[in-house]
Symmetry: C2
Subunit: 314 residues, 2 copies
């Protein structure tokens, strides 16, 4: 199959590309390299079944030309503004990079009769609901422009599937960790600790507690769901039932870097930042019924991610 | 209070304006007159507390200037593409008129510190769910670009409320009927029957069955909810528990026009058109707890609407 992967130079995208290539697929990647990093594609670019295009999905004409030329069998749409905090100050970042990019992808799929899309959605679409999050809970009240743009994307994908005979796999990712990080709490801590400070500033009280999934477990889930689930719209939470505190991540990062005498300083309240959902728990019954189980707990995923990312950066 | 009503020249908007003016409010209306009709404001324009602006909400600069000048206390945001069928052929109609208009309103509210918004949402955000629709059911899978754009609007309103300290009343309207119709099934039938045909073509098998609410009942609900419900985000279904078939509407329209020998011809299957939700039932427990009850059943609302609209057009 010939596949388009958007945001393929990002953390998750680059691993997905490696895995699709090793499965024998033909892969075309589009990335504007705003948050992505071309070094993450160093294995992919050696492969004859891989092509890379550097442009922005807001450029509809370029995207449409690519669709006409390449005749994709399916799109894996991961491109988004993954820097959720940035969206608070500049609301158009997510409007354009997270939502409008999806709208343009869908429009090109419609015009070029591409019928299948895997969409990287997010736990952020649920907002700060005080209950276990199954795929059918509501109301959906996101509290970040990122979450709003992901939910808006889901809404349009749903309509396009119904109106224009498409099929979608809407996968709601939790926090995903591993190596080649471009954003997120581990990336932030590694950056802050790279300049040999005497303290590590943590946003929030450190008690924020979320499930972290290891990238390899995520990839297995994606492949399994796309293979096994065949409704017109397939919505799945992907996650672990265990969770990890920010405090654990801070302490583990310092320990793995073998730094001594670093004081951890907590700043702010329960939320790390505006738009942050301090605690959430996915109900993963639906994906478990497909026979998928994560191999790593949340804490083990975080630990392995810190170790592999330190190794990758050296 | 000084209020901005968007889409105020439309069916619901014009009635809302009349009712707000009679409550003593100062009202500024913005409408691009794409689907709205300035004749609907013939009472309002005689009132010194009323101002009308004819421009499109896509024009951010004009909108922003108006916000700066008028210093609104609250926005009633009703502007949208109410022609749901049109959105199937041209997906940008709802993207611009239904979604982007909301985004621009929110951006202007943020910049000008306007903190309150009543948003005219829709049953269309639920899609074709096979269950009674309470405010907390999911998944939300709209099947029209209109529904997708309304859900996207809700998502952004939710985020703006959380991030920028706003308060919202998100009211999910059912089919609303009355006089000054600009769209919808009664409007369609009256238009088709105005040229003295021998038959009335009905889209679908006539068995589509939906709750129709009379405009006066809707207005009472809006005022009550805005007055009595004071969460940061107040989501309410507004509707009747009874419902009406399209067949009933066709027969009643012909009878009220006193037309003889009109054959009703049904075309197509269960759905009237792509994007149509053929049957849905609102759970209205939440609004009933506020003490609101509709005064008319769905059938009575439809009958009165046909009678009053015929009178209004003559």
């Amino acid at each position: 199959m010939k596949l388009l992967i958007t945001g393929g130079a990002g953390f998750i995208g680059s691993h997905l590309i490696d895995s699709l290539l090793s499965n024998g697929e033909e892969v075309v990647c589009v990335d504007n390299l705003r948050l992505g990093n071309k070094n993450h594609l160093k294995y992919a670019i050696k492969n004859k079944r891989f092509q890379f295009y550097n442009f922005d999905l807001m450029n509809f004409n370029k995207l449409h030309k690519l669709f006409k030329k390449e005749k994709f069998d399916m799109v894996y749409h991961l491109a988004a503004n993954s820097d959720i905090q940035a969206g608070f100050n500049e609301v158009k970042i997510d409007l354009n990079n997270t939502f409008y990019s999806t709208f343009n992808i869908l429009s090109c799929m419609k015009k070029n009769k591409v019928k299948k899309i895997m969409f990287a959605s997010s736990s952020a679409i649920y907002g700060d609901l005080d209950k276990k999050l199954s795929e059918i809970v509501g109301p959906l009240l996101p509290i970040s422009n990122y979450g709003a743009a992901k939910l808006s994307s889901e809404a349009y994908i749903s309509t396009f599937c119904d109106n224009y005979d498409m099929k979608a796999w809407i996968l709601r990712f939790p926090n995903v960790v591993g190596w080649r990080l471009t954003h997120g709490v581990i990336n932030d801590f590694l950056y802050k600790l790279s300049s040999s400070p005497s303290e590590l500033l943590v946003l929030g009280d450190g008690k924020q507690e979320k499930p972290y999934l290891y990238i390899d477990d995520l990839l297995n889930a994606i492949h399994l769901i796309v293979e096994k689930s065949n409704e017109n719209i397939n919505i799945f939470n992907i996650g672990v039932e265990s969770s990890t505190t920010v405090e654990f991540i801070a302490e583990t990062t310092i320990a793995e870097l073998k730094l001594k005498n670093i004081k951890i300083k907590y700043k702010g309240g329960q939320k790390g930042w505006i738009g942050d959902v301090p605690k959430f728990r996915f109900d993963t019954t639906k994906i478990r019924k497909l026979g998928w189980l994560p191999t790593l707990t949340s804490n083990d995923a975080v630990l392995l991610s810190i170790q592999k990312e330190i190794e990758y950066r050296n």
